[in-house]
Symmetry: C2
Protein backbone atom coordinates (compact mmCIF):
# COMPACT_ATOMS: atom_id res chain seq x y z
CA UNK A 1 0.00 0.00 0.00
CA UNK A 2 2.78 2.39 0.88
CA UNK A 3 4.53 1.42 -2.35
CA UNK A 4 1.34 2.16 -4.25
CA UNK A 5 1.22 5.59 -2.64
CA UNK A 6 4.81 6.33 -3.53
CA UNK A 7 4.37 5.25 -7.13
CA UNK A 8 1.34 7.46 -7.55
CA UNK A 9 3.07 10.34 -5.72
CA UNK A 10 -0.04 10.57 -3.62
CA UNK A 11 1.79 11.74 -0.50
CA UNK A 12 1.61 10.34 3.01
CA UNK A 13 5.06 8.79 3.10
CA UNK A 14 8.50 9.88 4.23
CA UNK A 15 11.38 10.70 1.92
CA UNK A 16 13.28 7.77 3.38
CA UNK A 17 10.50 5.36 2.45
CA UNK A 18 10.18 6.85 -1.02
CA UNK A 19 13.84 6.19 -1.69
CA UNK A 20 13.57 2.63 -0.42
CA UNK A 21 10.56 1.94 -2.63
CA UNK A 22 12.19 3.41 -5.71
CA UNK A 23 15.29 1.35 -5.03
CA UNK A 24 13.24 -1.81 -5.08
CA UNK A 25 11.40 -0.68 -8.22
CA UNK A 26 14.78 -0.32 -9.89
CA UNK A 27 16.08 -3.63 -8.61
CA UNK A 28 12.98 -5.57 -9.55
CA UNK A 29 12.35 -3.73 -12.81
CA UNK A 30 8.82 -3.36 -11.52
CA UNK A 31 6.18 -2.16 -13.95
CA UNK A 32 2.68 -1.53 -12.59
CA UNK A 33 -0.10 -3.70 -13.95
CA UNK A 34 -2.60 -1.16 -15.24
CA UNK A 35 -5.04 -3.98 -15.87
CA UNK A 36 -5.52 -4.32 -12.13
CA UNK A 37 -6.29 -0.62 -11.72
CA UNK A 38 -8.83 -0.58 -14.50
CA UNK A 39 -10.23 -3.91 -13.49
CA UNK A 40 -10.83 -2.72 -9.97
CA UNK A 41 -12.92 0.02 -11.50
CA UNK A 42 -10.90 2.75 -9.87
CA UNK A 43 -10.32 4.42 -13.19
CA UNK A 44 -11.04 3.82 -16.85
CA UNK A 45 -8.48 2.46 -19.26
CA UNK A 46 -6.47 4.59 -21.65
CA UNK A 47 -7.44 2.54 -24.67
CA UNK A 48 -9.35 4.14 -27.48
CA UNK A 49 -10.60 1.71 -30.08
CA UNK A 50 -10.14 3.15 -33.58
CA UNK A 51 -11.77 1.50 -36.57
CA UNK A 52 -10.46 2.38 -40.02
CA UNK A 53 -11.60 0.80 -43.32
CA UNK A 54 -8.11 0.17 -44.66
CA UNK A 55 -4.65 1.68 -44.59
CA UNK A 56 -3.89 1.16 -48.27
CA UNK A 57 -5.84 4.35 -48.72
CA UNK A 58 -3.39 7.09 -47.77
CA UNK A 59 -6.24 9.26 -46.61
CA UNK A 60 -7.22 6.92 -43.80
CA UNK A 61 -3.60 6.42 -42.81
CA UNK A 62 -3.41 10.16 -42.27
CA UNK A 63 -6.61 10.22 -40.28
CA UNK A 64 -5.23 7.48 -38.06
CA UNK A 65 -1.97 9.34 -37.66
CA UNK A 66 -3.86 12.43 -36.56
CA UNK A 67 -5.86 10.41 -34.06
CA UNK A 68 -2.98 8.47 -32.58
CA UNK A 69 -0.65 11.45 -32.27
CA UNK A 70 -3.27 13.49 -30.48
CA UNK A 71 -4.31 10.63 -28.22
CA UNK A 72 -0.64 10.07 -27.44
CA UNK A 73 -0.27 13.56 -26.04
CA UNK A 74 -2.94 12.64 -23.50
CA UNK A 75 -1.30 9.34 -22.65
CA UNK A 76 -3.93 7.31 -24.49
CA UNK A 77 -3.37 4.46 -26.94
CA UNK A 78 -5.17 3.46 -30.12
CA UNK A 79 -6.38 -0.10 -30.47
CA UNK A 80 -6.64 -0.54 -34.20
CA UNK A 81 -9.38 -2.25 -36.13
CA UNK A 82 -9.33 -2.58 -39.92
CA UNK A 83 -12.88 -3.21 -41.01
CA UNK A 84 -12.26 -3.68 -44.75
CA UNK A 85 -15.34 -1.55 -45.37
CA UNK A 86 -17.71 -4.20 -44.01
CA UNK A 87 -20.18 -3.86 -41.18
CA UNK A 88 -19.71 -7.48 -40.22
CA UNK A 89 -15.99 -6.98 -39.61
CA UNK A 90 -16.76 -3.81 -37.72
CA UNK A 91 -19.30 -5.56 -35.53
CA UNK A 92 -16.91 -8.36 -34.65
CA UNK A 93 -14.18 -5.90 -33.88
CA UNK A 94 -16.47 -3.80 -31.69
CA UNK A 95 -17.45 -6.87 -29.69
CA UNK A 96 -13.85 -7.82 -29.10
CA UNK A 97 -12.56 -4.38 -28.33
CA UNK A 98 -15.39 -3.61 -25.92
CA UNK A 99 -14.42 -6.64 -23.86
CA UNK A 100 -11.14 -4.82 -23.20
CA UNK A 101 -13.00 -1.97 -21.52
CA UNK A 102 -11.78 0.86 -23.74
CA UNK A 103 -12.29 4.43 -22.57
CA UNK A 104 -13.96 5.25 -25.88
CA UNK A 105 -14.30 4.36 -29.55
CA UNK A 106 -13.64 6.24 -32.76
CA UNK A 107 -15.41 4.71 -35.75
CA UNK A 108 -15.18 5.51 -39.43
CA UNK A 109 -18.52 5.95 -41.10
CA UNK A 110 -22.02 6.42 -39.84
CA UNK A 111 -23.61 3.10 -40.72
CA UNK A 112 -23.24 0.22 -38.29
CA UNK A 113 -24.99 -3.10 -37.94
CA UNK A 114 -27.98 -3.18 -35.53
CA UNK A 115 -26.06 -5.36 -33.08
CA UNK A 116 -23.09 -3.02 -33.23
CA UNK A 117 -25.33 -0.06 -32.54
CA UNK A 118 -26.86 -1.86 -29.59
CA UNK A 119 -23.48 -2.76 -28.13
CA UNK A 120 -22.29 0.80 -28.54
CA UNK A 121 -25.30 2.14 -26.69
CA UNK A 122 -24.95 -0.40 -23.89
CA UNK A 123 -21.25 0.24 -23.49
CA UNK A 124 -21.87 3.68 -22.07
CA UNK A 125 -18.59 5.07 -23.36
CA UNK A 126 -17.93 8.02 -25.66
CA UNK A 127 -18.13 7.25 -29.38
CA UNK A 128 -16.91 9.53 -32.16
CA UNK A 129 -18.08 8.76 -35.68
CA UNK A 130 -15.75 10.27 -38.23
CA UNK A 131 -15.57 10.85 -41.97
CA UNK A 132 -19.22 11.32 -42.83
CA UNK A 133 -20.75 14.31 -41.18
CA UNK A 134 -23.58 12.98 -39.11
CA UNK A 135 -26.14 15.40 -37.77
CA UNK A 136 -27.66 12.71 -35.55
CA UNK A 137 -24.65 10.73 -34.34
CA UNK A 138 -24.72 7.97 -31.77
CA UNK A 139 -22.74 10.32 -29.58
CA UNK A 140 -20.34 12.64 -31.39
CA UNK A 141 -19.38 13.12 -35.02
CA UNK A 142 -16.70 14.92 -37.00
CA UNK A 143 -16.29 14.91 -40.74
CA UNK A 144 -17.42 16.63 -43.87
CA UNK A 145 -20.56 16.71 -45.95
CA UNK A 146 -19.65 14.40 -48.80
CA UNK A 147 -22.79 15.10 -50.79
CA UNK A 148 -21.95 18.80 -50.80
CA UNK A 149 -18.36 18.21 -51.83
CA UNK A 150 -19.53 16.10 -54.78
CA UNK A 151 -22.14 18.72 -55.61
CA UNK A 152 -19.57 21.51 -55.56
CA UNK A 153 -17.30 19.55 -57.87
CA UNK A 154 -20.21 18.91 -60.24
CA UNK A 155 -21.14 22.57 -60.26
CA UNK A 156 -17.54 23.59 -60.82
CA UNK A 157 -16.99 21.23 -63.73
CA UNK A 158 -20.26 22.14 -65.44
CA UNK A 159 -19.43 25.82 -64.94
CA UNK A 160 -16.38 25.20 -67.11
CA UNK A 161 -18.65 24.06 -69.91
CA UNK A 162 -18.38 20.29 -69.47
CA UNK A 163 -21.59 18.44 -70.34
CA UNK A 164 -20.64 14.80 -70.80
CA UNK A 165 -19.06 13.72 -67.55
CA UNK A 166 -17.75 10.40 -66.34
CA UNK A 167 -17.31 8.96 -62.86
CA UNK A 168 -14.88 6.21 -61.95
CA UNK A 169 -15.02 4.64 -58.54
CA UNK A 170 -15.35 1.40 -56.64
CA UNK A 171 -18.17 0.29 -54.45
CA UNK A 172 -18.07 -1.29 -51.05
CA UNK A 173 -20.83 -2.13 -48.66
CA UNK A 174 -20.14 0.91 -46.59
CA UNK A 175 -18.33 3.19 -48.99
CA UNK A 176 -21.21 5.49 -48.35
CA UNK A 177 -19.18 8.64 -48.32
CA UNK A 178 -18.04 8.03 -51.89
CA UNK A 179 -21.59 7.17 -52.91
CA UNK A 180 -22.83 10.40 -51.39
CA UNK A 181 -20.20 12.36 -53.27
CA UNK A 182 -21.37 10.67 -56.45
CA UNK A 183 -24.99 11.51 -55.65
CA UNK A 184 -24.13 15.13 -55.04
CA UNK A 185 -22.06 15.21 -58.20
CA UNK A 186 -24.85 13.78 -60.33
CA UNK A 187 -27.40 16.17 -58.90
CA UNK A 188 -25.25 19.19 -59.72
CA UNK A 189 -24.37 17.95 -63.21
CA UNK A 190 -27.91 16.99 -64.09
CA UNK A 191 -29.19 20.23 -62.63
CA UNK A 192 -26.91 22.03 -65.06
CA UNK A 193 -28.18 20.00 -68.01
CA UNK A 194 -25.23 17.63 -68.18
CA UNK A 195 -25.02 13.86 -67.88
CA UNK A 196 -22.84 11.46 -65.89
CA UNK A 197 -21.70 8.05 -67.11
CA UNK A 198 -20.69 5.90 -64.17
CA UNK A 199 -18.00 3.25 -64.18
CA UNK A 200 -17.84 1.30 -60.95
CA UNK A 201 -15.08 -1.22 -60.44
CA UNK A 202 -16.85 -3.38 -57.91
CA UNK A 203 -14.88 -5.40 -55.39
CA UNK A 204 -11.74 -3.42 -55.99
CA UNK A 205 -9.90 -1.15 -53.61
CA UNK A 206 -9.91 2.48 -54.56
CA UNK A 207 -6.29 2.75 -55.69
CA UNK A 208 -4.20 3.43 -58.80
CA UNK A 209 -4.88 0.26 -60.75
CA UNK A 210 -8.67 0.40 -60.65
CA UNK A 211 -8.34 4.07 -61.62
CA UNK A 212 -6.28 3.06 -64.63
CA UNK A 213 -8.52 0.23 -65.78
CA UNK A 214 -11.71 1.99 -64.82
CA UNK A 215 -10.73 4.83 -67.12
CA UNK A 216 -9.95 2.39 -69.90
CA UNK A 217 -13.36 0.77 -69.52
CA UNK A 218 -15.23 4.03 -69.25
CA UNK A 219 -13.61 5.55 -72.33
CA UNK A 220 -14.06 2.31 -74.22
CA UNK A 221 -17.81 2.39 -73.73
CA UNK A 222 -18.40 6.13 -73.79
CA UNK A 223 -15.99 7.94 -76.09
CA UNK A 224 -17.52 11.37 -75.86
CA UNK A 225 -16.69 11.87 -72.17
CA UNK A 226 -15.16 15.29 -71.71
CA UNK A 227 -14.13 15.07 -68.10
CA UNK A 228 -13.89 12.34 -65.45
CA UNK A 229 -14.47 12.72 -61.71
CA UNK A 230 -12.75 9.99 -59.73
CA UNK A 231 -13.64 8.56 -56.34
CA UNK A 232 -10.30 9.75 -55.02
CA UNK A 233 -6.93 11.13 -56.02
CA UNK A 234 -5.24 7.76 -56.18
CA UNK A 235 -7.73 6.60 -58.78
CA UNK A 236 -7.39 9.92 -60.60
CA UNK A 237 -3.63 9.37 -60.83
CA UNK A 238 -4.32 5.99 -62.37
CA UNK A 239 -6.61 7.74 -64.83
CA UNK A 240 -3.98 10.36 -65.60
CA UNK A 241 -1.47 7.64 -66.34
CA UNK A 242 -3.91 5.88 -68.63
CA UNK A 243 -4.44 9.09 -70.56
CA UNK A 244 -0.71 9.77 -70.75
CA UNK A 245 -0.16 6.27 -72.08
CA UNK A 246 -2.88 6.70 -74.73
CA UNK A 247 -1.56 10.06 -75.84
CA UNK A 248 -4.58 11.91 -74.50
CA UNK A 249 -3.61 15.40 -73.34
CA UNK A 250 -5.02 16.61 -70.07
CA UNK A 251 -6.92 18.90 -70.00
CA UNK A 252 -6.99 19.50 -73.78
CA UNK A 253 -8.44 16.12 -74.72
CA UNK A 254 -10.02 15.19 -71.43
CA UNK A 255 -10.44 16.66 -67.98
CA UNK A 256 -9.50 14.79 -64.79
CA UNK A 257 -10.65 15.53 -61.26
CA UNK A 258 -9.87 13.62 -58.08
CA UNK A 259 -10.93 13.94 -54.50
CA UNK A 260 -8.99 14.15 -51.25
CA UNK A 261 -5.96 16.15 -52.38
CA UNK A 262 -3.15 13.75 -51.56
CA UNK A 263 0.15 15.35 -50.60
CA UNK A 264 1.68 14.27 -53.90
CA UNK A 265 -1.00 16.19 -55.81
CA UNK A 266 0.35 19.50 -54.62
CA UNK A 267 3.91 18.87 -55.76
CA UNK A 268 3.07 17.69 -59.26
CA UNK A 269 3.77 20.19 -62.03
CA UNK A 270 0.26 19.69 -63.31
CA UNK A 271 -1.88 20.44 -60.29
CA UNK A 272 -4.62 17.83 -59.94
CA UNK A 273 -8.11 19.23 -59.70
CA UNK A 274 -9.38 17.87 -56.43
CA UNK A 275 -11.12 18.60 -53.18
CA UNK A 276 -8.96 19.26 -50.19
CA UNK A 277 -9.80 17.80 -46.79
CA UNK A 278 -7.42 18.07 -43.88
CA UNK A 279 -7.29 14.42 -42.92
CA UNK A 280 -4.73 14.91 -40.20
CA UNK A 281 -6.86 17.65 -38.67
CA UNK A 282 -9.94 15.45 -38.90
CA UNK A 283 -8.16 12.77 -36.91
CA UNK A 284 -6.86 15.26 -34.38
CA UNK A 285 -10.30 16.78 -33.96
CA UNK A 286 -11.81 13.35 -33.39
CA UNK A 287 -9.23 12.64 -30.70
CA UNK A 288 -9.80 16.05 -29.13
CA UNK A 289 -13.54 15.53 -28.97
CA UNK A 290 -12.97 12.13 -27.39
CA UNK A 291 -10.61 13.56 -24.79
CA UNK A 292 -12.95 16.47 -24.13
CA UNK A 293 -15.75 14.06 -23.37
CA UNK A 294 -13.53 11.97 -21.14
CA UNK A 295 -12.53 15.02 -19.12
CA UNK A 296 -16.12 16.20 -18.84
CA UNK A 297 -15.64 19.30 -20.91
CA UNK A 298 -18.54 20.49 -23.04
CA UNK A 299 -18.06 19.03 -26.52
CA UNK A 300 -20.10 19.77 -29.65
CA UNK A 301 -21.88 16.67 -30.87
CA UNK A 302 -21.15 17.44 -34.48
CA UNK A 303 -18.15 19.16 -36.05
CA UNK A 304 -17.85 20.02 -39.73
CA UNK A 305 -14.18 19.99 -40.68
CA UNK A 306 -14.92 21.48 -44.09
CA UNK A 307 -13.42 21.00 -47.53
CA UNK A 308 -11.94 23.22 -50.21
CA UNK A 309 -12.25 22.74 -53.93
CA UNK A 310 -8.87 22.79 -55.68
CA UNK A 311 -9.35 24.07 -59.26
CA UNK A 312 -6.04 22.63 -60.46
CA UNK A 313 -4.90 22.41 -64.06
CA UNK A 314 -6.20 18.99 -65.05
CA UNK A 315 -9.54 20.44 -66.14
CA UNK A 316 -10.05 23.09 -68.79
CA UNK A 317 -9.55 26.72 -67.88
CA UNK A 318 -12.52 28.73 -66.67
CA UNK A 319 -12.09 31.12 -69.60
CA UNK A 320 -12.24 28.32 -72.17
Amino acid sequence: MTASRVLRGEGGYSEETRVKVMEQVDILGYLPNRLATVFAGDQSSTFIGVSIPDLGNEVFAQVLEGIDRKLGTFGYQSVLGLTQHTQKEEENWIRTVLSWQPAGLILTGRYHSPRATEMLRNAGIPVVEIWDLNAAPLDMSVGINHFDSGFDMGRYLTSLGYKNLGYVGTSHDTANAATERLNGFCKAVEGAGGAVVKQLCLHDTATYYPGFYGTEQLLGSARDIECIFFQNDAMAFGGLQYCAGKGLSVPQDIGIAGWGDLPIASVMTQRLTSCHVSHLKLGQKAAEMMMGRLTDEPVPTCTDIGFRLIPGSTVRNAKA
Copy 2:
Protein backbone atom coordinates in the same frame (compact mmCIF):
# COMPACT_ATOMS: atom_id res chain seq x y z
CA MET B 1 -19.42 -20.17 -12.33
CA THR B 2 -21.87 -22.20 -14.33
CA ALA B 3 -22.43 -19.19 -16.56
CA SER B 4 -18.68 -18.96 -17.06
CA ARG B 5 -18.63 -22.61 -18.10
CA VAL B 6 -21.46 -22.10 -20.56
CA LEU B 7 -19.89 -19.04 -22.13
CA ARG B 8 -16.62 -20.84 -22.63
CA GLY B 9 -18.39 -23.97 -23.89
CA GLU B 10 -16.32 -25.88 -21.41
CA GLY B 11 -18.96 -28.53 -20.76
CA GLY B 12 -20.32 -29.74 -17.43
CA TYR B 13 -23.75 -28.15 -17.73
CA SER B 14 -27.14 -29.24 -18.98
CA GLU B 15 -28.78 -28.03 -22.15
CA GLU B 16 -31.52 -26.48 -20.06
CA THR B 17 -29.01 -24.43 -18.10
CA ARG B 18 -27.18 -23.39 -21.25
CA VAL B 19 -30.38 -21.99 -22.71
CA LYS B 20 -31.20 -20.12 -19.50
CA VAL B 21 -27.72 -18.60 -19.39
CA MET B 22 -27.82 -17.53 -23.03
CA GLU B 23 -31.23 -15.99 -22.46
CA GLN B 24 -29.86 -13.84 -19.70
CA VAL B 25 -26.83 -12.93 -21.81
CA ASP B 26 -29.24 -11.65 -24.45
CA ILE B 27 -31.43 -9.81 -22.00
CA LEU B 28 -28.56 -8.16 -20.19
CA GLY B 29 -26.48 -7.52 -23.30
CA TYR B 30 -23.69 -9.11 -21.33
CA LEU B 31 -20.17 -8.79 -22.69
CA PRO B 32 -17.41 -10.62 -20.84
CA ASN B 33 -14.70 -8.51 -19.27
CA ARG B 34 -11.53 -9.92 -20.76
CA LEU B 35 -9.53 -7.72 -18.45
CA ALA B 36 -10.53 -9.93 -15.56
CA THR B 37 -9.41 -13.10 -17.33
CA VAL B 38 -6.03 -11.69 -18.24
CA PHE B 39 -5.65 -10.02 -14.90
CA ALA B 40 -6.22 -13.27 -13.08
CA GLY B 41 -3.33 -14.65 -15.08
CA ASP B 42 -5.40 -17.49 -16.45
CA GLN B 43 -4.44 -16.57 -19.98
CA SER B 44 -2.51 -13.89 -21.80
CA SER B 45 -4.14 -10.96 -23.52
CA THR B 46 -4.76 -10.71 -27.24
CA PHE B 47 -3.02 -7.35 -27.51
CA ILE B 48 0.04 -6.99 -29.65
CA GLY B 49 1.82 -3.68 -29.29
CA VAL B 50 2.96 -2.42 -32.68
CA SER B 51 5.36 0.51 -32.93
CA ILE B 52 5.63 2.31 -36.26
CA PRO B 53 7.71 5.44 -36.94
CA ASP B 54 4.96 7.33 -38.76
CA LEU B 55 2.03 6.69 -41.05
CA GLY B 56 2.69 9.62 -43.38
CA ASN B 57 5.13 7.23 -45.00
CA GLU B 58 2.95 4.96 -47.11
CA VAL B 59 5.43 2.14 -46.68
CA PHE B 60 4.86 1.89 -42.94
CA ALA B 61 1.11 2.16 -43.38
CA GLN B 62 1.30 -0.94 -45.54
CA VAL B 63 3.45 -2.76 -43.02
CA LEU B 64 0.90 -1.96 -40.33
CA GLU B 65 -1.93 -3.10 -42.56
CA GLY B 66 -0.17 -6.41 -43.11
CA ILE B 67 0.37 -6.84 -39.39
CA ASP B 68 -3.13 -5.94 -38.29
CA ARG B 69 -4.90 -8.00 -40.93
CA LYS B 70 -2.91 -11.09 -40.07
CA LEU B 71 -3.27 -10.59 -36.32
CA GLY B 72 -6.98 -10.11 -36.86
CA THR B 73 -7.34 -13.56 -38.37
CA PHE B 74 -6.04 -14.94 -35.08
CA GLY B 75 -8.35 -12.78 -33.00
CA TYR B 76 -5.56 -10.49 -31.87
CA GLN B 77 -5.57 -6.68 -31.82
CA SER B 78 -2.85 -4.14 -32.54
CA VAL B 79 -2.16 -1.45 -30.01
CA LEU B 80 -0.54 1.26 -32.05
CA GLY B 81 2.44 3.38 -31.14
CA LEU B 82 3.81 6.11 -33.41
CA THR B 83 7.37 6.74 -32.33
CA GLN B 84 8.19 9.60 -34.69
CA HIS B 85 11.54 7.93 -35.29
CA THR B 86 12.79 8.67 -31.79
CA GLN B 87 14.01 6.20 -29.21
CA LYS B 88 12.65 8.35 -26.40
CA GLU B 89 9.11 8.15 -27.78
CA GLU B 90 9.54 4.44 -28.31
CA GLU B 91 10.75 3.93 -24.75
CA ASN B 92 7.81 5.82 -23.28
CA TRP B 93 5.39 3.90 -25.43
CA ILE B 94 6.95 0.56 -24.48
CA ARG B 95 6.63 1.40 -20.80
CA THR B 96 2.97 2.28 -21.18
CA VAL B 97 2.02 -0.58 -23.41
CA LEU B 98 3.79 -3.16 -21.23
CA SER B 99 1.67 -2.07 -18.30
CA TRP B 100 -1.32 -3.35 -20.29
CA GLN B 101 0.12 -6.86 -20.35
CA PRO B 102 0.31 -7.35 -24.11
CA ALA B 103 0.87 -10.85 -25.49
CA GLY B 104 3.78 -9.57 -27.54
CA LEU B 105 5.38 -6.57 -29.22
CA ILE B 106 6.30 -5.78 -32.81
CA LEU B 107 8.83 -2.96 -33.07
CA THR B 108 10.16 -1.13 -36.09
CA GLY B 109 13.94 -0.90 -36.16
CA ARG B 110 16.68 -2.60 -34.30
CA TYR B 111 17.97 0.19 -32.10
CA HIS B 112 16.27 0.80 -28.79
CA SER B 113 17.23 2.79 -25.72
CA PRO B 114 19.01 0.82 -22.96
CA ARG B 115 15.98 1.13 -20.69
CA ALA B 116 13.68 -0.04 -23.45
CA THR B 117 15.89 -3.05 -24.05
CA GLU B 118 15.88 -3.87 -20.36
CA MET B 119 12.10 -3.62 -20.13
CA LEU B 120 11.71 -5.81 -23.18
CA ARG B 121 13.94 -8.47 -21.66
CA ASN B 122 12.16 -8.36 -18.33
CA ALA B 123 8.72 -8.52 -19.90
CA GLY B 124 9.26 -12.11 -20.98
CA ILE B 125 6.96 -11.78 -23.99
CA PRO B 126 7.72 -12.38 -27.68
CA VAL B 127 9.22 -9.42 -29.53
CA VAL B 128 9.54 -9.13 -33.29
CA GLU B 129 11.85 -6.45 -34.63
CA ILE B 130 10.95 -5.54 -38.17
CA TRP B 131 12.33 -3.51 -41.05
CA ASP B 132 16.06 -3.86 -40.48
CA LEU B 133 17.26 -7.38 -40.78
CA ASN B 134 18.82 -8.16 -37.47
CA ALA B 135 21.01 -11.23 -37.19
CA ALA B 136 21.10 -10.92 -33.40
CA PRO B 137 17.60 -9.79 -32.49
CA LEU B 138 16.23 -9.42 -28.99
CA ASP B 139 13.96 -12.30 -29.85
CA MET B 140 12.84 -12.47 -33.50
CA SER B 141 13.45 -10.31 -36.53
CA VAL B 142 12.05 -9.94 -40.03
CA GLY B 143 13.13 -7.43 -42.63
CA ILE B 144 15.65 -6.83 -45.34
CA ASN B 145 19.32 -5.99 -45.50
CA HIS B 146 19.23 -2.28 -46.21
CA PHE B 147 22.97 -1.97 -46.72
CA ASP B 148 22.80 -4.58 -49.45
CA SER B 149 19.84 -2.91 -51.15
CA GLY B 150 21.72 0.39 -51.22
CA PHE B 151 24.82 -1.40 -52.43
CA ASP B 152 22.92 -3.08 -55.25
CA MET B 153 21.45 0.23 -56.34
CA GLY B 154 24.91 1.80 -56.33
CA ARG B 155 26.33 -1.04 -58.36
CA TYR B 156 23.44 -0.89 -60.81
CA LEU B 157 23.71 2.85 -61.37
CA THR B 158 27.49 2.78 -61.79
CA SER B 159 27.12 -0.14 -64.19
CA LEU B 160 25.10 2.22 -66.38
CA GLY B 161 28.08 4.54 -66.56
CA TYR B 162 27.07 7.08 -63.90
CA LYS B 163 30.04 8.52 -62.01
CA ASN B 164 28.79 11.66 -60.30
CA LEU B 165 25.92 10.59 -58.13
CA GLY B 166 23.75 12.45 -55.68
CA TYR B 167 21.77 11.32 -52.67
CA VAL B 168 18.78 13.13 -51.23
CA GLY B 169 17.34 12.04 -47.94
CA THR B 170 16.40 13.16 -44.46
CA SER B 171 17.94 12.13 -41.23
CA HIS B 172 16.26 11.09 -38.02
CA ASP B 173 17.74 9.75 -34.83
CA THR B 174 16.77 6.25 -35.76
CA ALA B 175 16.42 6.39 -39.52
CA ASN B 176 19.13 3.80 -39.48
CA ALA B 177 17.74 1.77 -42.30
CA ALA B 178 18.01 4.72 -44.67
CA THR B 179 21.50 5.47 -43.38
CA GLU B 180 22.52 1.90 -44.02
CA ARG B 181 21.17 2.08 -47.55
CA LEU B 182 23.21 5.23 -48.05
CA ASN B 183 26.32 3.53 -46.66
CA GLY B 184 25.85 0.57 -48.96
CA PHE B 185 25.21 2.90 -51.87
CA CYS B 186 28.36 4.93 -51.22
CA LYS B 187 30.48 1.85 -50.84
CA ALA B 188 29.32 0.46 -54.19
CA VAL B 189 29.70 3.79 -56.00
CA GLU B 190 33.12 4.54 -54.54
CA GLY B 191 34.21 0.99 -55.20
CA ALA B 192 33.37 1.60 -58.86
CA GLY B 193 35.36 4.81 -58.95
CA GLY B 194 32.39 7.14 -58.66
CA ALA B 195 31.49 9.77 -56.08
CA VAL B 196 28.37 10.60 -54.08
CA VAL B 197 27.28 14.09 -53.09
CA LYS B 198 24.86 13.91 -50.18
CA GLN B 199 22.02 16.30 -49.52
CA LEU B 200 20.33 15.66 -46.21
CA CYS B 201 17.23 17.62 -45.31
CA LEU B 202 17.53 17.31 -41.56
CA HIS B 203 14.45 17.44 -39.38
CA ASP B 204 12.14 16.85 -42.31
CA THR B 205 9.88 13.91 -42.95
CA ALA B 206 10.82 11.84 -45.96
CA THR B 207 8.01 12.95 -48.28
CA TYR B 208 7.44 14.80 -51.54
CA TYR B 209 8.33 18.32 -50.47
CA PRO B 210 11.74 17.55 -49.01
CA GLY B 211 12.39 15.54 -52.16
CA PHE B 212 11.56 18.58 -54.27
CA TYR B 213 13.59 21.06 -52.28
CA GLY B 214 16.38 18.64 -51.56
CA THR B 215 16.84 18.19 -55.30
CA GLU B 216 16.85 21.93 -55.81
CA GLN B 217 19.54 22.37 -53.15
CA LEU B 218 21.62 19.47 -54.39
CA LEU B 219 21.60 20.60 -58.01
CA GLY B 220 22.24 24.17 -56.93
CA SER B 221 25.47 23.21 -55.21
CA ALA B 222 26.61 20.39 -57.49
CA ARG B 223 25.61 20.94 -61.11
CA ASP B 224 27.45 18.00 -62.57
CA ILE B 225 25.31 15.35 -60.82
CA GLU B 226 24.26 12.75 -63.38
CA CYS B 227 21.88 10.72 -61.29
CA ILE B 228 20.20 11.05 -57.89
CA PHE B 229 19.33 8.23 -55.48
CA PHE B 230 16.57 9.20 -53.08
CA GLN B 231 15.83 7.92 -49.61
CA ASN B 232 12.47 6.68 -50.84
CA ASP B 233 10.01 6.85 -53.70
CA ALA B 234 8.01 9.71 -52.25
CA MET B 235 11.13 11.89 -52.20
CA ALA B 236 12.03 10.67 -55.70
CA PHE B 237 8.62 11.81 -56.97
CA GLY B 238 9.34 15.21 -55.48
CA GLY B 239 12.65 15.19 -57.33
CA LEU B 240 10.96 14.15 -60.57
CA GLN B 241 8.56 17.05 -60.25
CA TYR B 242 11.41 19.46 -59.62
CA CYS B 243 13.14 18.25 -62.77
CA ALA B 244 9.92 18.48 -64.80
CA GLY B 245 9.42 22.03 -63.56
CA LYS B 246 12.97 23.01 -64.50
CA GLY B 247 12.74 21.45 -67.93
CA LEU B 248 15.24 18.74 -67.11
CA SER B 249 14.46 15.54 -69.00
CA VAL B 250 14.62 12.28 -67.12
CA PRO B 251 16.66 10.23 -67.84
CA GLN B 252 18.33 12.24 -70.65
CA ASP B 253 19.49 15.14 -68.48
CA ILE B 254 19.46 13.45 -65.12
CA GLY B 255 18.72 10.02 -63.67
CA ILE B 256 16.33 9.48 -60.76
CA ALA B 257 16.11 6.44 -58.52
CA GLY B 258 13.89 5.91 -55.52
CA TRP B 259 13.49 3.16 -52.98
CA GLY B 260 10.49 1.19 -51.77
CA ASP B 261 8.49 0.88 -54.99
CA LEU B 262 5.26 2.58 -54.00
CA PRO B 263 2.13 1.27 -55.73
CA ILE B 264 1.86 4.47 -57.75
CA ALA B 265 5.35 3.89 -59.18
CA SER B 266 4.16 0.88 -61.12
CA VAL B 267 1.28 2.65 -62.82
CA MET B 268 3.24 5.68 -63.98
CA THR B 269 4.04 5.76 -67.69
CA GLN B 270 7.64 6.40 -66.82
CA ARG B 271 8.53 3.54 -64.51
CA LEU B 272 10.48 4.82 -61.53
CA THR B 273 13.77 3.08 -60.93
CA SER B 274 13.44 1.74 -57.40
CA CYS B 275 13.85 -1.20 -55.10
CA HIS B 276 10.83 -3.33 -54.44
CA VAL B 277 10.05 -4.59 -50.96
CA SER B 278 6.80 -6.35 -50.17
CA HIS B 279 5.74 -4.25 -47.23
CA LEU B 280 2.43 -6.01 -46.78
CA LYS B 281 4.20 -9.36 -46.72
CA LEU B 282 6.73 -8.05 -44.26
CA GLY B 283 3.94 -7.09 -41.90
CA GLN B 284 2.15 -10.39 -42.38
CA LYS B 285 5.33 -12.33 -41.75
CA ALA B 286 5.96 -10.38 -38.57
CA ALA B 287 2.47 -11.21 -37.34
CA GLU B 288 2.89 -14.86 -38.32
CA MET B 289 6.15 -15.15 -36.42
CA MET B 290 4.49 -13.56 -33.40
CA MET B 291 1.57 -15.96 -33.56
CA GLY B 292 3.88 -18.90 -34.10
CA ARG B 293 5.79 -18.04 -30.95
CA LEU B 294 2.56 -17.59 -28.99
CA THR B 295 1.35 -21.02 -30.04
CA ASP B 296 4.69 -22.62 -29.23
CA GLU B 297 5.50 -23.52 -32.78
CA PRO B 298 9.14 -23.45 -33.83
CA VAL B 299 9.83 -20.03 -35.34
CA PRO B 300 13.02 -18.87 -37.08
CA THR B 301 14.65 -16.02 -35.16
CA CYS B 302 15.50 -14.15 -38.31
CA THR B 303 13.64 -13.92 -41.63
CA ASP B 304 14.93 -12.11 -44.69
CA ILE B 305 11.99 -10.91 -46.71
CA GLY B 306 14.21 -9.89 -49.61
CA PHE B 307 14.12 -7.04 -52.11
CA ARG B 308 14.17 -6.69 -55.87
CA LEU B 309 15.82 -3.94 -57.86
CA ILE B 310 13.45 -2.31 -60.34
CA PRO B 311 15.47 -1.00 -63.31
CA GLY B 312 12.72 1.38 -64.43
CA SER B 313 13.04 4.07 -67.06
CA THR B 314 14.10 7.04 -64.97
CA VAL B 315 17.76 6.18 -65.34
CA ARG B 316 19.68 5.85 -68.59
CA ASN B 317 19.46 2.66 -70.55
CA ALA B 318 22.00 -0.09 -69.91
CA LYS B 319 23.17 0.17 -73.55
CA ALA B 320 23.89 3.88 -73.28
